[in-house]
Symmetry: C2
Subunit: 193 residues, 2 copies
Amino acid sequence: MTKRIITISREFGSGGRFIGEEVAKNLGIAYYDKNIIDEIAEQLGLSPDYIQESAELSPKKGLFAYALVGRDITGKSVEDMVYEAQRKVILDLAEKEPCVIIGRNADYILRDRDDVLNVFIHGDMPEKIHRIIGLYNVEAKEAVKMMADTDKRRMTNYNFYTDQKWGKASNYTLCLNSSQLGYDRCEKIIMEC
Amino acid sequence: MTKRIITISREFGSGGRFIGEEVAKNLGIAYYDKNIIDEIAEQLGLSPDYIQESAELSPKKGLFAYALVGRDITGKSVEDMVYEAQRKVILDLAEKEPCVIIGRNADYILRDRDDVLNVFIHGDMPEKIHRIIGLYNVEAKEAVKMMADTDKRRMTNYNFYTDQKWGKASNYTLCLNSSQLGYDRCEKIIMEC
């Protein structure tokens, strides 16, 4: 089965987003990341900023927030509603056109399709720290903290909604260490697949 | 840094051993799997059959065997000694020549070298079952049991000796789903890297 959709999950600082953008550009297909958030926001009548805070990087207070957060009369938390909206958007996008989707548990959400290439990009500490320092203009210590914090939230969110383990090889078609392989090589491998 | 050594860890039935053999053949480099076991056996004066039982697939009785197994006066179990011998052989082989090494926690044992490409090969259930049925001439039910059993032992052995999680993407340079990518594509990607 030819792959039409590429999902990219990634460690913070691994360049996964950049690699996904380059792949989409080179293949001439759509690229979705913050765009998805905006689209969800439009559908829900919520501001992109609000969704961005609540969506992928939640919960800010750790795993318990999923249990303790305020729920509406249906028993759904705001975060569940955001996730549900996000899920629908991702299903629609995959149906509509070939595309690259970054993060947002898209690998799991699209698990019933057989035209999806699921990629996980990770990297080595020194290279990730170096990249974060350059991108966010922060000190090394702050970069390490940002990395630990962001990856912890991504992992918590993924594990909670998918009942799978974030970063476990068997969830993905392809896992690449961008520090050892280089961004160009990663892009090339993804495009060949 | 150019990679001289390729280690391949794999799920049972994923074709990882076959892929490794093909890669070694195509690159014209050495291939080590049971050869390692024989070499260890020679060094220790133990028979290959005995080592094979005690080495990678141990412990037969689960994790507790690591704690409860008989120990010599130095506090080392027979399994620890086998592992230590295995480790030395792998370090020597990596020093000696470019090669492909299958299993045996070689990724972890060679972690201090920067010329090693660590690969993990996994696959989807139906394809793995199909392969095991063909290779071992067993029924599907037996194939599933063999797979669960072997992977559990590999995982237990790996997690015990490396303090890492078997099959976690970040331990490897490259993780490939051989069912989705096909054996040829896997070989091609490994050789390019």
